[in-house]
Structures are given as C-alpha cells and as structure tokens.
Symmetry: D2
C-alpha cells in the first residue's frame, strides 16, 4: 500500500493500525506470545516509511508530526510503539540528512537503506547499550576493526537492551575502533555505527528480559562474535561521527520514543474517563470531576510540550533551544505518566490493579519512560546547564 | 506611530515598550505613584490596537499571538500588562466578530469603537464583578432601564474590582435589565453590556484596593448613579447577548490575562537564573543545575500549553476543545507561578524576600492568577465535565 | 512460645519473623505458590496474639505499637503483613473492649474467641466487601435470619475480596437482617457480624483474584449458602452494633493495615539506598544525595504521622481527633508509597522495573494502599468535614 | 509571675500570651510600629524562662515541648515567635548542659546567665550571620583578641541579620580568634561565642531590614567596633567549642525556630477554615471539603514530624537519628507553609491577597522558613548523607 502524506490521513492510518494491534497488547504483556504479530501488522501498514522522504517513496514526516503519529500508536499498544520507534530512530537520523549533498559512499548507503525500508519493508533496530554503561557512547566495549583485505568490518561485543531482538531485519550497532588497547575502558577509539543483518553469522540473541512490562518490545541481549559486515554497511559511510551527531542533534537518542509515552499517558486518561463514565454517580460527582480535570490539565500540559518540542525540531533541528525542548519533553512524559497512574488509582480503585483491566498494564508501562535514557537527572542537567549558559555543543559539557 | 503586523516585530515592540515601563514597576507596587505613567507609555506605543483588524488600522493579532505579546509585557511589568489586558478583553470580543456581517446598529457600534482605539488611542476597561458575586453574570445587581424617551439607557449599581479605574477612557459595564423586581437576586433579566465614558455624569471611583500586589492595575470600586448612556453605546447593539457569548466563547472572560501571568512566571525564572549565575559556585553546582532544570521544565510545559491553547482559539474559536484548552492554560499559569516562586525561594534565599529585589514583587504578583476568575476549581470543573461528556454549550452546565 | 510484652522485644520478634518470610515474598507474588507457608510461620511466631490482653495470654499491644510491629513485618513481606492484619482487625475490635464489663453473652463470646487465638493459634479473617458496594455496611446483600428453633443464624450471600481465603480458620462475616424485602438494597436491616468457621457447611471460596500484586493475601470471593452458625458465634453477642462501632471507632475498618503500607514504603526506601550505595559514584553524587534526602524527608513525615495517629488511638480511642488522625495516616501512606516508587524509578532506573529486583514488586504493592478502603477521597472528606465542624459521630455524615 | 511546669499549663499560657500579641502583628508587619511592645508582653509573661531548668526557677521544658509552645505563639504572631526563639536558641544550648558538671568558669557563666533570665527577665539574642557567608561558622570575619591585661576580649566586625536588634539586652556574638592573618578568609582561628550587652560601648545597629515580612523580628545589621567584653562573658567559659557543638547537636542552629513556622502553617489553615465556614455553601461543597482535607492531611504530617523530631531531641539529644529528624522537620515546615499558602489562595481567592486579611501576611511569612538556615538543600544533603552512611559527626562532612 502507498502511504498517505497528509498528517490527518497518517493519524487515521495510525489509529486504524492501532486498533488492529491493541487487542494483542495484553497477551504479549502476559508473556503468552512473543509479540511478533504486532510488528507484522505494523510492517504491512506501511508505517515503516513514515520518515522516509517523499521523493523516495515515504511519507516524509517531520519530527513533531512523527511524535503525533507515534502517540496514536502508543495509546493503543505502548510496547509495540516503543519497538517501532527503534526502527525510526535509525531511519530518522538518516532522513534528517535529506536534502544535504553527501559524499558518494554516504549517498550509496542512504539510497540502499531507504530502499530496504520502502521496497523491502525491512525493519531496522538499534543496538547501543551495554551492561553497566547504559546508552552512553563513551567507554563502549563493543569493538570493530577492518578485515585484512579491507573489505569488511569485523565486530565483537555484547549489547544489552536491544529492542526488536529477533524481530528486526537489521541492527545498527555502535562500536568503538579497536585500537589495540585492553578493554580497560576510557581510551577507546571513536564510535561508529554499522548495519548488521539478523542473519549475519556470529549474531545471536539471549532470552527476552523479564521486566515489569514492555515484553512486547522484544528486548534482549545481543552477542556479536566476529561478525563480518561489508564496508558498504558502515552507517552513512563515515567512521567516528556518532558522538558529534548525538551532541549536536540529540533528539533521536534522547527522546525519540517520547511520543509513545505520551500515547500511554493518553490511554491512562481515556481508560480512567471510561471507568468514571460507566457509573453516572461517579461521572456527576463534583469531586471526581475535579480529579479528572486535574488529570486533563496535566495531560494537556505534557502534550503541548511534546508538540511544541517536536515541531521545534522540525523547524530548527539541532538548535540549542530545540535540544533543550527535547530534553524537557522527555522529562515531562516521564513525570506525567506515573502521575496520571496515581490519579487513576485514586479514581478507579481496584480496577486499576486488576490484571484483567488495561489500566493495570498501562500503569506499569508508564514507569519505563524515566528508566530509558536520557534519564530524568540528565534531562534536568541539560536544562539547568542551558539556563546558566553552558555551551552544550561542547561534547565535554555532557556525559554522552 | 503605525503598528507593525508581523509577530516578530510586534514582540520586538512589546520588548522595547516593556523595557520602558519595567523601571516603573517597583515604585507603583510600593504605592509611591498611581502607575498611570505606564499606561501613557502603552498608549503611545500603539499597542492598544493589537487586536483591531488590519483593514481598520490595527495589527489584527490572533488570540494566540496576543498572548505571546502580552507575556513579553508581563515579564517586564506584570501589573501594567494585566491592566492593558482589560482593554483587550473588551476590544477582543469585538474583533472576534470581524468578517461577520452584523446588523446596522452593531456595525455602527463596532466602527465607532474601533475608531476610538485606532484614531483616538482611547483606552477601554471592563466593569463586571460585584461584591460577593465575583465576575459571574448571574444574579447581577447593577441594573439598566431605557429612558422614557428611549434615547438612553440609565444604569445604576456598584462594581468592584474595576481595573484601570481612573485611567481608562471608557468602561464596558455589565448590567441586568431592570424588570421591576426587588434586588432579591435570582430573577433578574438578561445581562447586557454598555460603554460608559469616564466622564459620564454619575460615574465615580472609590479608592484603589489595598492588595498584596498589583497596585499598578489601578483596581477600585466604581459607582454608577443613574448614569445616562446613549443607545449607540449598547455593546454590539443587542441586549442580552452576554451570557450566550461567555458560554460559547469564554476565552476572554476566563483567561484573557493568561499571557500576563505567563510573563510573570518567565520573569521569576529569569531573575532566578540571574541570581544563580552571579555566583560561579552556584552556577556550577550540580544540585542547583537540577533545580533550575526543574524550573525550566515546569515553565516550558506551562508556556507550551499557553501557546497551544491560544493558537487553537485563533484556529477554531469557540470549539469545545479550544474552550477546554483555555481553561487548562488558565489553570496551569495559576499553578506554575507560585511553584516557580517556591523554587526561587529555595535557590535565591533571602534575595527572594528582600523588598529591594524584583523577585520579591514577582512572587507576590504570581499569586493573583488563581485569585482572578475563572478560579482554579472552575477550570478543573470545566475540564472534568468536558472529559465525561457534559454539553458545555448548555449554559446550565456552568455557573457563569 | 510465649509472646514478649515489651515493644522492643516484639519489634525484634517481628524482625526475626520478617526475615523468615521475606524470602517467600517473590515466589508467592509470581504465583509459584499459594503463600500459605508465610502464615504457618506467622502462626508459629505467636504474633497472632499481639493484641490479646496480657491477662489472657497475649502481648496486649496498643494500636500505635501494633502499627509499629506491622510495619516491621510489612517491610519484609507486604502481602503477608496485610493478610495478618485482617486477623488483627477482627481481634483488635474485640480487644479494644478489654476492661469494659460486657453482658454475659458478649463476655462468653470474647472469652471463647481470645482463647481460640491464644490456645488454639487460630487465624481469623474478615468478610465484609461485596461486589459493586465495596466495604460499605449500607446496602449489604448478604442476609441472616434466625433458624426456626432459634439456635442458629442462617447466612447466605456472596462476599468479594476476602483475604486469607482458604487460610484462616474463621471468618467474621457482615450480614444484614433479612426483613423479608427483596434484595432491592436500600431498606435492609441493621448489619451484624458472625463468626463463620472455614469448614462450616455451605462455605466455599472462589479462585484467588488476579491482581497486580498482593497474591500473598490470598484474596478470593466467598460464597455462603445457607450457612448455619450457632448463636454463640454472633460477634460480641449483640445484633446491629456494626455501624455504630464503625462510626465511633473507625480505626480498624478505615486504616488497620496502615502499618503494613508504611513498611512497604520503608522497604522501597531501603532498597533504593542499597542500590545507590552499591556504587560509590552514585552514593557520593550531590544530586543523588538530594534525591535520597527528599525520599527520606517524605518517608519520615509519613512515618511520624502514622506513629502519632496510632498512639492517639491508644490514648483516646474513638475521639474525633484520633479518628481524624487515622484518616490522615491512611491517606498519607497511600500517597507516600507511590511517591517513593517514582523517586526509586528516577534513582534506580532499570533495576526498579526488573522482575528479579524486589523494588519491582514493592512498587506494585505500594499502589494497593489507595485501592483499599477507606479510599483517598473518603479520607479527605472526613478530614474536610472535621475541619468545618460537621458532627462525625452522626452516622449520616459519612457514607459507611 | 511564676512559670507553670506542666505542658498543658504552658500551652495555655502561650495561648493567652499569643492572644495578647496577635492584635499587634498587622501593625508591626506594616511598619507602623517597631514591634517592641510584643516583646514587652513576652517578657512579662515569664516565657523567657521556658528552657531554664526547674531547679533554678524555669519551666525546664524539653526541646519537643518547646516547639509545641513556640508553635502556639507562632500561630498568633509569627514574627514575635521567631524573635523570641533567638533568645531560646541561646538559652537552650546552655540549658542542654544542665546536669552536666562543668569546669568552674563555665559553671559561673551558666549561673550568671540563667540568673539574668529568671531574676532579671533579660532577653538574649544571637549574632552569627555575616553578609555573603550566611550563618556558617567557617570563614567568619568578626574577630576577637584578648586585651593586653587579659581581662577582656575585644571584638570587632559586622553582623547581618541580627534579630531582636535594639530589643534584646544581650547578644551572643560569634567571632573567630584573630591570629594575625588578613581577613582573607579561610585560615581563621576557631570560633567562640561572647555575650555582648546592648549598651557595651562600640555596639551599634543599622536600620531594620526591609523584607517581604517579619518586620517584627527587628532584624538589622550590628556593628562591633572594638567592643570590650569581660572574660566572664565568654560563652560557657571555653574558647573554640562552637563548631564542635553545632556538628554534634545542630538542633538549635539548624532548626530552633521550626515550631514558629509550624505555628504559621497552623494559622494559615485556621484562617482558611474560618473563611470557608463563613459561607455555608462553601463549607458544604464536597470539592471544598476535599481541598480542606488535603490541607489538613499536609499539616498533620508536618506537625507529626515536628513533634517526633522534637521529642527525639529531648530523648536522645545529638544522636544521629535525632539530628536527621531535626533536618527533616526543618525542611518539612519550609515546604508545608508555602504549600498551604497556595491551597489557601485556591480556596479563599481575593481574601488571601487583601492587605486587610491576616492570610495575606501569613502567606508572606511562611516563605521565610526556607530562607533561614539550614537551607532546604542543606537539610536534604544531611538526610541524603545520613542515608548512604556518611559519618555526620565528622565536621568535614558538612559545611558549617
């Protein structure tokens, strides 16, 4: 199917697709299935090409509108939206460069990758985090070196928290140049990214991690054992650009999934309203109306911030103000979800803790926003430093 | 001077004008002067015509952009921005009708009033509240009747909390049709609005009220003793439209001044940042950066909500969603100001309570947002009722 | 074993017993066992007689000290502490009457029941809630009538949320006098309580409810089908005293389990501190210390309130001030648990959402405080009414 | 008059005295008088001897009960209670040592000072803070040296924020040993305290500082110009004990006034309740009752923490847990006052910002708790360090 290009149509498509995957959320959450069916439906929907420029067959969505679409999906199936976001993180950083003339190798890479998405409906994922180091680029232990004949990069290491493990076709793996030193940590080389195929020899995945929720993201550890990747799969054809990109344009790394968590918060509110309106006595209670009003005000604040931040990235990607807004939006969704969860507990009582009620799952899901990087303290640090005038384009100012 | 029409130019003009009136804020706050000089400068700036349609000589600002301009002024001199807003509440309701064909009497009224603003630089104000009844239209005790010859309306009553008292040229006075009953209250006639001139015989003002702050709004009680107003000064030429208008399009009544309080919150943040950055030890403290980051995130949330709400009024004035957003924005500025004030107390210590420091005044000013209608409980009630699906176009659903 | 009587010794015993049951919490929570082993250990510990007066062989604990002991247990195994509390709710209301001369039937009942606890180590539970009505006494559908020969009461009905289902030896069942009307609801007779034995014919339990946590309370629906109870098992030998007792001395009904939730909050704090101190970099971070300090302050406030409220019940059981404090304490533990949970999420990140970490369970458990009656809105209503001087001894003032 | 010794009688006396000074609060706050009359009444009441041991003629109050009495006064006249506390800070540190055998010089000092309070009704004050350094003992610029004949200490320096300036009879002045170095700061000698009489030559006071509130504390800068103090007025007869005392037993320095701010918070609540109950419609509103209930719960939490902390100091003065509780209590009153203030704004509207209403003053007063040392960040730091096991008896662990 061809993807529409107007935001309204895309939101409609997201809503329809959301309704198809929503019934799958509870079963996957309970571990009764692996959640892959949701991704099959998402692939089929065409939504993998949301960010791909229109002239190569995608919807060409800006960052702000991407968050709107992601929120629509997240309201239906938070885990699937989060998983899908990992694909868009990878594509988005590439799509951001649309309109920029690139060196031939980068151009070839971009053409290949976008083609895989548009024509091949291929799903991409990202593998950055490592145990004990989080998603930070510094001190990375996964290493790469060039093969003797120069035709391949050879990667070895262990990644943790790889979403879409066993689901995606490709994984963009961050690795540090192997400069011969021990794995002692600090003096590693610059970090580059490589596209590893799911079926590249040497790639294996561990068991999906047992967390309080989000089983549907299919998050597992990934091991790379001397995996050979052709040079053409060096991300954007250049080594060592990773940190630079993260520092200048942190929106994907810091906050790509923000829309999904907004969607989860929206769903908490909607289910609470549904619970309240099921009983006229509750719906007409002035006290209950005040509580709902407070939830509504909180949600509207967070939503407006997400919208304003996302649209600012669309308008002036990488400006200090856009970067600050992105950190603020990420922080805000991490606060508002659990806050609405507590409001829902007050208003819905035992319904909110019954395994048979969607709220019970949503409340667990909302907790993950603060757990995923950028952590709340990092967001506040960024905003605080911005306020006092620290130069945040200087990579030393921030611990990535 | 001719008013520019681009938002950027208007924001620049507001900033320049703000810088002229900012030095006056402390003196007026302390009661050392009556604050009229600020309004002289505001008249001179041309900003009285912000909302007047361009084709009749104004800047033709939409509601959302109006709030942006008002916030700029509010950050410099909160009380003057609040006072100025009363003018725009009156003009705005009229300007909203631009492009709508009106009956001849209404058309004549509109032409006259906009002309007074553009050509005469006349300042308007609003007189609605009454002691013990707040700004509610129901149960109003100020009465009007037609003179025997039908040429005038005759108004009598007592208004409280009239801003711009003794400053404005005209006051739009709400009054109930005198249907012969006693002032017993409930069975009063429909409410209409009349333009009363400052020098109409029978108009007197009491002393400016002694409040914790906002002396510069020049708020005082107003007495109307058999004031004769020509028929041509019936607001929009129609009797009894007031409640209908408030219910359908409450943005002016409920929340016109929201931008001013956003500006006050912005100023609290800026002064806190200035205080922190004056000491490198403070500015580099990770703990202080976290606190500033939290303030920044709070402020950005409220600001984004104000922007989104205001722009939605511009785009779809009177829609239920726009009305709900307006209540949310009003509530949010009432929360964020005092919250930032408490943050400022933690970060700035005795500076924040020293009469010589602007923060001390701003902290008092921020308290007024929740005091002015719509009250926080009313905002939450509106949002709660919207959530459970109450028909908010039905005047009985809400206590105006 | 004989129970010690000094608070210090009892706290030590609770800590030792807590350490024996703590390792069982995770397995029961995951549904891998039915949790009965914890109650076997608790029976064995002698803690069932905590509230039994000393002169009949118990520890004679006052309400405030009972909460201290319960908190110690709750910090080790929240669900078991909650379950155990149901036993003490039943015994406590009886023990409260110690020192009061009772009519012969009541005296005989009390002697029998305390003997069952002290000599028989029997575990009691309470069955009050009904589907759709919560724990309110009004409108109860479970009915009782006297048998034709007057020797038995015959009970029929369906209780929901019966904790210790299948674990306790006896259940104190609330039922309304069957006055011949239909089950239409409102005009039911006064409510009395009856002690039903687990093996009385006609008693059956449904499946344990599938909730977000607290599997270890063994909470299930209970059906009573023409259950015959000897007259001697009428609670305290008097019919129709229930509502009177709840209104005058609501501490057991409203808030008996408060100590258990305080313990859960304590455990969240301790595990967060353990997580932080496992990494010197974290433990020495000024930002982390601030966050821990804030958690500590919150916890200390809630704890002090619980202590003061509990001790006030000990000192002046049933005074309006004691009743108000009990509502405040119950509300406070419902707020502080989820608040500390969110703080823990910020500080511990993925540890706090990993199924293998105790925090993950504790965060789910903390949510239940607000779900159990008295609900947060009811607590605030009580406090608000107390503030404005409503007579809260009047049963009509409050919706029990 | 002789002071009673039971807490109930002392609370009654405090309430009676409070009622005498309450009517003076507004005038002093507005700067219409110097507030000295309140202190005349307080002297007359005998409350200056609250902490003086009974065997030398005082009421012998413990710290916890002192806070209860101070709260009673603070609820009537916050500024006067704060001023009075400065007297008790000085006496309290001395009274703490009751029952400890002291060296002869210290014994003579103690006998003299307590005699001045009991027999002479003398009012003491404290002069510690210096501009730009706050109340920290380190880096103090006020210096002392022994006169050539060894009979006097000679003090010179400038103190800021000296409460009871021009009211007290004596001022306990902190000064660093003059070791001949420049006033460069860091390498100053140990700090000692000296009792300076108001009429000692060389003592002058500046103008009372113009703050947002608390004019009634009569806080002004104090200059000491070669003030000669007899050796017998060295505090406790020993040099260099100050830092040791503050580190081991910080309750007076960190939080002596906590009771006064609790009283201010109590008064905010009472005035809000009075405002609400003046209108039956408000008092019966379920929404208003919820808000009052929330205020009540907040206040009860803070109050319980203050009680528990104070009583713990009475029971185990200087224990790490007592010290931590004192920091928690101080932090809590700094939070709860402004929080209740914002609640009052929501509930009372314009009454809360009218200069003629006590709430308006109380709201300003409540802000000062966070401004006075220990600052909120310092309190949280102490609690955070206590949680992670830092040795807080080590003076290097904390920045006093």
């Amino acid at each position: 199917m061809t993807l529409p290009t107007s935001l309204d149509d895309l939101l409609k498509l997201a809503a329809q697709t959301g309704e198809r995957i929503a019934p799958l959320a509870a079963g996957t959450d309970a571990g009764r299935d692996d959640g892959h069916e949701s991704y099959r439906i998402l692939r089929e929907s065409g939504l993998l090409a949301l960010l791909v420029p229109r002239h190569v067959g995608g919807a060409g969505l800006g960052f702000g509108d991407y968050w709107r679409v992601l929120a629509e999906l997240g309201a239906h199936h938070g885990a699937a939206a989060l998983g899908l976001n990992m694909h868009h993180v990878v594509i988005g950083a590439l799509a951001d460069a649309d309109g920029t003339r690139l060196p031939p190798a980068a151009e070839a890479f971009r053409t290949w990758m976008l083609g895989e998405v548009v024509n091949g409906r291929k799903l991409f994922a990202s593998a950055t985090s490592e145990a004990g180091r989080g998603a930070k680029l510094r001190g990375m232990r996964t290493r790469y070196r060039l093969s003797e004949d120069g035709a391949h990069y050879i990667l070895s290491g262990r990644k943790s928290f790889v979403s879409l493990a066993g689901v995606a076709d490709y994984y963009v793996v961050a690795a540090a140049a192997d400069n011969g030193t021990e794995e002692s940590g600090e003096d590693t080389g610059e970090v580059s990214h490589f596209v590893v195929a799911a079926d590249d020899p040497g790639v294996t995945f561990g068991a999906v991690q047992h967390m309080a929720a989000m089983h549907g993201t299919s998050t597992a550890p990934m091991t790379l054992d001397e995996v050979r990747v052709p040079r053409s799969r060096l991300y954007l054809g250049v080594e060592g650009m990773s940190l630079f990109k993260v520092v200048r344009e942190p929106h994907w790394m810091v906050a790509g999934y923000t829309g999904a968590y907004l969607g989860i918060a929206e769903a908490i509110f909607r289910h609470t309203v549904d619970h309240v309106t099921a009983s006229p006595a509750r719906a007409e209670s002035p006290v209950v109306q005040q509580e709902l009003g407070r939830m509504s005000a909180r949600l509207r604040s967070a939503r407006a911030l997400v919208h304003e931040a996302g649209d600012l990235v669309t308008a002036e990607r990488g400006s200090l103000e856009a970067n600050a807004m992105v950190h603020a939006a990420k922080y805000a969704v991490g606060e508002v979800g659990p806050q609405l969860a507590q409001d829902a507990l007050r208003l819905c009582g035992s319904a909110a803790v019954s395994r048979s009620h969607p709220l019970e799952r949503l409340i667990r899901e909302a907790q993950f926003a603060h757990v995923m990087p950028a952590k709340p303290q990092e967001c506040l640090e960024y905003l605080g430093k911005a306020a006092v005038g620290v130069n945040l384009y200087d990579a030393r100012a921030f611990a990535w």
